[in-house]
Symmetry: C2
Subunit: 228 residues, 2 copies
Amino acid sequence: MPTSTVEQYIKTIYQQEERCAQDIVQMKQLSEAMGVTPGTATAMVKHLAERKLIRYEPRKGVRLTAGGRELALLMVRRHRLIETFLENVLGYDLSEVHEDAEKLEHAVSDKFIERIDAYLGFPPADPHGDPIPSAEGHIARRDSVPLDHCETGDTIRVARLRNDDPAFLLLMKEQHLTPGEAFVVIDKNETAGTMTVRHDARSRGPITPFTISMGNSSRIMVEPTGTK
Amino acid sequence: MPTSTVEQYIKTIYQQEERCAQDIVQMKQLSEAMGVTPGTATAMVKHLAERKLIRYEPRKGVRLTAGGRELALLMVRRHRLIETFLENVLGYDLSEVHEDAEKLEHAVSDKFIERIDAYLGFPPADPHGDPIPSAEGHIARRDSVPLDHCETGDTIRVARLRNDDPAFLLLMKEQHLTPGEAFVVIDKNETAGTMTVRHDARSRGPITPFTISMGNSSRIMVEPTGTK
DNA sequence: CTGTACTTTTTGATTAATCAAAATAAAACC
DNA sequence: GGTTTTATTTTGATTAATCAAAAAGTACAG
């Protein structure tokens, strides 16, 4: 039985592989994501390699083994189901769910998770729009792209918000930039490093344009719904 | 912020004070209840005393300070609300709630607990019949007595089951010996160390008599409803 | 190819929680 | 009242996770 620290490292390695589309995660990246000193990460990584959860290539980085990926997906499942429960049932705000889920995911039993899943009606995705892995570790692939890959005139729908920062999530909520909402890209200014979008005329949101930095827009995953 | 181990020791000391109606808890009692060696308990107790959560009298035992009691009641509140949630909402069996609650109570936030409380409609007691302390640490006193203090002919109502052993709880459930049920004591055999009860004629349970050991009956708290 | 900057690993220490076993104190027993 | 039993404390060691700071390796800029 892995400790909750081990679970957290494995989940973090998975997330770094995913988010940065890398097959290997460097120590600096891992130690920063975990909020520990590099030496600590090195020590832990050796331990994880012994447990056969990752493959460790000294001075290069780490990658998950099949067993590690399985554990990571289990943790992601727990996290996303808990977040969904906190929002849908207990009325948490989207910006508040992450913190509590992060603690709970290491304390819940399999039984608890399966009961929550059933109670929620087996939701396919969490409130951020991220797909929830099945109990067997299958996860739906979605062909969404970061908003900053879109061009002026593209019509899109928000798929997921790939950022746990409460302030960011609050801002997105205020602008109704939440999963499912339809938008049009009305400007992309590479020089200024900003993008401007407004709600699709047919959607119920405000039509006031909203400008965001490229950095933030890379955390907003969208599905193209056509190009004007 | 106390670690979950500290929380567990404080809760255990509170429970030992309560269950055994003692004002001081010996080290042996504490170490056994915690499932650690006596030396470990001594070391921890010194630490708890430094944190002003208990008063430690070497070679005598420990007792909670006001601050310790406050923390203990907070933990009891968490435990009982979580148990209630697991049974009422997620459909856990009474014999299964304890184990999961024991882990969760150290991982939940105050916000989570207050939301659960509201979701459950501010229940006064958990599924064992134990009163749930308020957020301010007030707990309802109940004038219940252990079943083994009753005499033949007493009519009683089950108030709480003061035992977390799943097998015991399952047995009680099978016999409908659950909080709220009305019974008559039809025999008390001090020599054999057993007591026999049957459901009150007016109640919906079976009228087949049921015999239990004195040991077990001391864990069944009842409220007298009159003496024939 | 050489030096500076950056990343990674190593080393030595620390904290929380634990155990086993020896030492000590208190209680109980005849 | 001395002996035995039982409870408690002490001591020394261990494990998991961490940090700070020194050492070692890698990268690339000129």
